[in-house]
Every structure is written in structure tokens, then in C-alpha cells.
Symmetry: C2
């Protein structure tokens, strides 16, 4: 890389992909290629630098694919992290010195997130990722750079969208019971919800329609089925 092409500032993308499966909320993490003498393995969000002439949205798709082999996921930009010291921890520097052409550059990162049905996506690591795996959001290790902070912010965004009823329905069958919906909310919000209040809130919604139809093939008393008629976010 020619001296005069060296940038003092790089821009990267980081992807927070939430997966839902069997009532667990997980997030897709990679384990970085191990470059440290002290064999210090680091988990991180899938992320890398934006290429010179690449649209940032395309960069997010490319980077996710290169590191985890997942594609076809709708990634939504949610926040850009621009603290000048965000990649300056000792092991951050050690890792950047091995990986990056320009390890001293400041890196501003644009974060994207998605919520997908986990069973539809089985990641496999490539590029600098040694592993790519789903980790329970309630049990996250210390991550590289400021990725714990990025993950917290994404979780906050996800929980807000669920409370606003603008996301989540994609993870349910087309016809669902209010019990299934409450379970989904409880897992994403990580809190117990009062059944009566929850149902009152949902019934207020113009986007959730009660069907003249009940569950079939269940042992317990079949519950009424509902459907979502609001705009569906393309999350997968």
C-alpha cells in the first residue's frame, strides 16, 4: 500500500444478527483467528472494513457472508459508533497490527442488525473467522473492540421495536396463539409479562387480527388463532 494511499481513518461495518429458536434469543458471533502469543482467543461481531468504492449496505452483506457464509439476510443499519478510542484496547491493537494494512488508523464503524429464524441459517466460518456460532444473548463473553457496547445497543433497539410491535411477527407462524406471541415477547424482552395486560395491549392493535379458527391437534384446550396484518420487516 503506497504511503500516500494510507488512510488515518477507516470505516468498517459490524453485523449484529439475532437468531430465535426454541424460545431462546441468540446472537451470531465469530471467534477471531488467533494471532496473540498468549493464545488469547477473542469473540467478536462479524465485521470488517468497507471497500473503497463499496456502498456501506453492500459492505455489511459482503462481510457477513465472507465471515460466516450467511447470505440473504436483511440487515438494517441502526447506529454508527465513532468514539476515537474504540479500537485502542491492548489486545485490539495487537490484533490490528497483524490483520490490518493500516493498524493505527482510527476506525468508525457502522452497525447493522437483523432478526432471523435460527434454524434457517447455519453459519460456517471463513476468512479471519475461526469459528462462527450462535451465542445466547444472556451469556455473552467479553468481545473485541467495543462490540459488547454495540451488541447492547442493538439489543436495546430490538427490544424497542418489539415493544412497538414493529418486529418479531416474522418469527411466528402465519397463524399464532397469543400464548406464542407472549412467549416471543418475553424471550426478547427478557422479562415475564402479565398475561391479562399483554392481551389487552395486543387487542388494542389494529395489526393483530383474531381468526375464526382454533389450534388443532393439541392436547390442551385449543386456543384461538391470530394473524398479523401489519407491514412485515424483511428480516429474512
Amino acid at each position: 500500500m503506497n504511503e500516500h494511499l494510507q488512510s488515518q481513518l477507516d470505516v468498517s461495518v459490524d453485523c449484529v444478527v439475532f437468531g430465535f429458536h426454541n424460545n431462546r434469543l441468540k446472537v451470531l458471533l465469530i471467534e477471531q483467528e488467533n494471532v496473540s502469543k498468549n493464545n488469547n482467543r477473542r469473540y467478536a461481531l462479524p465485521g470488517d472494513l468497507v471497500l473503497p468504492d463499496e456502498h456501506i449496505d453492500h459492505a455489511a452483506e459482503r462481510v457477513l457472508y465472507e465471515l460466516t457464509n450467511l447470505k440473504g439476510i436483511y440487515l438494517e443499519q441502526f447506529h454508527t459508533f465513532g468514539n476515537p478510542n474504540r479500537v485502542r484496547k491492548e489486545d485490539d491493537i495487537e490484533w490490528l497490527n497483524v490483520i490490518r494494512k493500516n493498524p493505527d488508523a482510527r476506525v468508525i464503524t457502522i452497525a447493522y442488525y437483523a432478526l432471523v429464524k435460527m434454524e434457517d441459517y447455519t453459519p460456517s466460518p471463513s476468512s479471519y473467522a475461526e469459528k462462527a456460532e450462535w451465542k445466547d444473548v444472556l451469556d455473552i463473553p467479553e468481545l473485541a473492540f467495543d462490540h459488547n457496547k454495540i451488541l447492547r445497543k442493538a439489543l436495546k433497539k430490538l427490544r424497542k421495536e418489539v415493544s412497538d410491535h414493529t418486529v418479531g411477527f416474522e418469527l411466528l407462524p402465519e397463524k399464532f396463539t397469543l400464548g406464542q406471541l407472549q412467549q416471543l415477547y418475553e424471550v426478547i424482552l427478557d422479562m415475564q409479562l402479565d398475561k391479562r395486560n399483554f392481551r389487552k395491549a395486543i387487542k388494542k392493535m389494529d395489526t393483530v387480527l383474531a381468526l375464526e379458527e382454533k389450534q388443532k391437534g393439541v392436547l390442551h384446550k385449543p386456543a384461538q388463532l391470530f394473524t398479523y396484518i401489519g407491514e412485515r420487516k424483511e428480516v429474512d
Copy 2:
């Protein structure tokens, strides 16, 4: 600037400051210093490059202050624009060639927005701004770079937040009538709202409280007063 310090990539911040006054929604624009032979004056959002060691949020405050002398405005980041060609129109290039040390660099911009009581902020231009003025959002000229697109996106965000009832109340007195609230909504949403449906929707809200109190000193039949008990966004 030393060759080897030249960056092929710059990051800027742009500020979309909405002002509300006398039932009009305006946005703060600057007129760029005129550098073109053909005396082609350009309006733009207040924006400039992030400094090497500056947090992006601080950059937004600084840039807004340097160009318009406005400060103490809570600016919220809402989107980052990363199309590789976003500053490549002919007059963009002409302007950058005069103003920027590194006019050929790609520029990714982080956009911030705010909603303020216009009467509290009287802008005055400085730095490369020749004018700084409030323009009606319904009458926006062609702007520099992709600033019309950034403004549209900010307006969309603002309208969504108003529809979600999470912003706007800051612009009303502490005690307001539903008529005042509906007027505010109609101006920001740029649409007429059905009085009955609007009141039904507002009455559903747990954050708007009816007071045992009526308007005073009005000629018409005094209307009931309401207050907002939800979380107020610090928008000014």
C-alpha cells in the same frame, strides 16, 4: 497537509435541525460560500468533516455551532449515508476542490437531527456559511451533495416519531388542548387528521393525561387541558 496524511476516505457529520413556529415546520439550511465562476449559490445542511480525534457526536455539535452559531441543541444520530458517489455531482466536485484539502476523497456522512422551538434559536452564519436560515420544509431548494435525500430521511424519521407519540410534546406548553396537539401533528405529518379518530388515539395513550382544568381567557368555549407525562426527549 503531508501527502502521507492524505486520506482517501473522509467522514463528515450533517445536521438536520427542524424548527417549529406558528404552526410551520422549518429546517435550518446554510448557503455555502460562493466559489463557482457561474455564481451558482448552493444551499446545504450544516455539515463538515469529523476531526481526527473527535467523537462524532461532538463533531455534530461543533459543526452546527461553527456554521450557524447555534448551540445547546440535542442532536440525535439517525442515519449514516455511504453511497460511494454521494459527493460526485459536478458542482459538488467544484466546491470540494476549493474547500477541501483532499477533494477527491470519498465522504461517508453521519446524519443527526433535532426538533426545536424556532423562536429559541436565531442562527447567524459563520465559517464557510454565507447565510444560515430557516426554510419551510414544504419549499426546499435543490441542496448540495445528497442533502435532499438526507433531509427526506430525517423528515420520515421525525414523522414516524410523531406518529409513535415519542416526540413533539416538547413543542407544546406544559398544559395543552387536544386541538393544539392535533395542529402540531398535522403540520409535522403534513396531513389533515380526522378529529374524532385523533382524539380516540390520544385517549388510548397512557402518557397523555386529562387535567381537571380548562383553558382561560379565550373567547370561544374553553377546551379541556391535557398534559404529557411520558419521557420527554431532550430536543432543546
